[in-house]
């Protein structure tokens, strides 16, 4: 399902966070949002699923203005994975993932809903901790559960905020592979805010580089991840290694302040 963002602008009180953001997310692709802290990645994600309402601009889902959709309807198309979660009243892993069915059900859960939960838990390798309480889990396990809940929504577009920030090396690869495979197999699309440029390089089709709330660069991974862009956006000198066929960023040193 195609997601189009047109001229989105957002500010918290009087502090502008996003300015005139326009971009398209094509079906069957993974788009990574990268940029320094405070560049507006998370805010943009939240505008996309109406957790926040942009001051200006429109977001279209398959040509339809999302601000005109009912919240429940929108939730059937967009799955959201928050950066982290802390539960005051934790549920079991099963019940947490089951929440993903809310947009699809009235009150009673059907056998099919249960089957979807079982399938997602199996896909994410969470069978053995399915009846543990969410707060008992490690950071990595929690993040996998949050991804599982979004998958359980059976969304057409997955929005992920730092899905790998708490994961160890193996989990990072596992979780991102699962997401990429789903995107390719089911023809859905994914937008993720991510700090790790090398994971972005390896797992996404396109990259958007944000700087101070505006799009600094957008395009295919290879076009965007170069030393010049990274220096401009992050203020870090890097060398790029292309041995694996994808750009691999090796950071060298922060650019000295005032040298520009």
């Amino acid at each position: 399902m195609k997601l189009e963002i047109e001229g989105v602008q957002f500010s918290y009180k009087s502090t502008p966070v996003l300015n005139n953001i326009s971009l398209n997310v094509e079906e069957g692709t993974v788009l990574s949002l990268v940029g320094p802290n405070g560049s507006g990645k998370t805010t943009l994600l939240k505008c996309m699923n109406r957790i926040l309402n942009p001051k200006k601009g429109t977001i279209f889902l398959e040509g339809k203005d999302i601000s005109k959709l009912k919240a429940k309807e929108l939730a059937r198309f967009l799955g959201y994975v928050p950066q982290s979660a802390h539960d005051s009243f934790p549920l079991t892993v099963f019940d947490t993932v089951l929440l993903g069915r809310i947009p699809h059900l009235n009150f009673k859960i059907s056998d099919q809903d249960k089957e979807t939960v079982f399938a997602v838990l199996t896909l994410m390798g969470l069978e053995e901790i399915a009846f543990r309480t969410f707060n008992e889990l490690s950071g990595g396990e929690r993040q996998k559960v949050l991804v599982a809940r979004a998958l359980c929504q059976e969304p057409k577009v997955l929005l992920l905020d730092e899905p790998t920030s708490n994961l160890d090396l193996r989990y990072q690869l596992e979780v991102l592979s699962i997401i990429v495979n789903l995107v390719k197999d089911k023809g859905i699309s994914a937008v993720m805010a991510i700090h790790d440029l090398n994971l972005a390089s390896r797992f996404s089709d396109n990259i958007v580089m944000l700087k101070d709330g505006v799009i600094y660069a957008v395009g295919e991974v290879r076009e965007i991840l170069n030393s010049k862009n990274i220096r401009e956006v992050y203020g870090v000198d890097t060398t790029i290694n292309n041995d694996s066929g994808r750009p691999y960023v090796i950071p060298l040193a922060p650019v000295a302040k005032g040298s520009e």
């Binding site: 919240a71 947490t96 069978e127 009846f131």
Partner: protein
Amino acid sequence: MIQKLKAAEMRETYSRATARKVTFIVTGVVVLVGITLLATSLGTADLSVKSVFNAILAKFLPFIESENLAETVVWHLRLPRVIMGVIAGIGLAISGTAMQGVLRNPLVSPFTLGISSAAAFGASIAIMFGVGFTASGTYLIILNAFIFGLACTFLVYGISWIRGVTPETMILAGIALMYLFSALTATLQFISNEQQLQAIVDWTFGSLTRAGWNGVFLVSIILVIALPFLIRYAWAMNAMASGGDEVAKSLGINTSLVRIVSSLLAVLITAAIISFTGVIGFVCLVGPHIARLIIGGDHRFLIPYSGIVGGILVVAADTIGRTAFSPAIIPVGIVISYLGVPLFIYLILTRRKEYFQ
């Protein structure tokens, strides 16, 4: 192969977990009914369990014979009191569960919104000046307490509406108003004469002594109207209580609406109950926690189960209160703390620490 085994195991655990929850609820209902009957058969008038049962049944089944005295004691004194205890417990505990869920805070109850101190203030005005929203009579105090309780909540809403209906603003505004109404009540107590003071203090104790069929009837109507709505919000509460507002919104839930409607219903139930009974606050806070520790955080089960736990707690406390030092009657509002605090502390000490993180 291992995959399949794991999946089968998961399914089995799921069935067992669900069966366990259903068992807890069924057992709870049985205990509640049992304790209700037991409470009805205990009291100053020395009636046998059999004559109490006969007196109850005789009302429905004309062919059963019972003594006149037993019928009078049971139907006029004990049953209204015990049943008021049951529905007060159910209503207060469910209100607490709903408030804790939508405000995502284990320390809140409808009382956090200042409702009890406002109701106490309303009752105090009625007691001292005999003025209020009805002409006169017993209902003056009840109605005054009810209206002040609700009015305070609307003030809380008004304040949070300006700042955004978040748990933080609602709780802070509620606590501020709670202190305001406490100060107002204290002011009234300060200028009251001895009899008035006695009446005000009596009211704030929380007691089922004043319970009658009218109160039972009115509170039941409010419960019957409000509970289906709260249960219907069980999913929304699951999402809001466990994941927070952002997650709930991303699942298509209108969090502000759920928060306002649920807390309004909780407050309505609570105001209705405490205007008849006075302040029985503790069950609102502790009932939900006990239920949650036993049956887990899924509101589809938690809401009914916390009601059952609340009913048991109040009836048990009231029965102890009126039999332990008979003929003296200790108000249920006092006994329930003596009963609930040790139970609660026990649960805090024994429960896995994740629950409190």
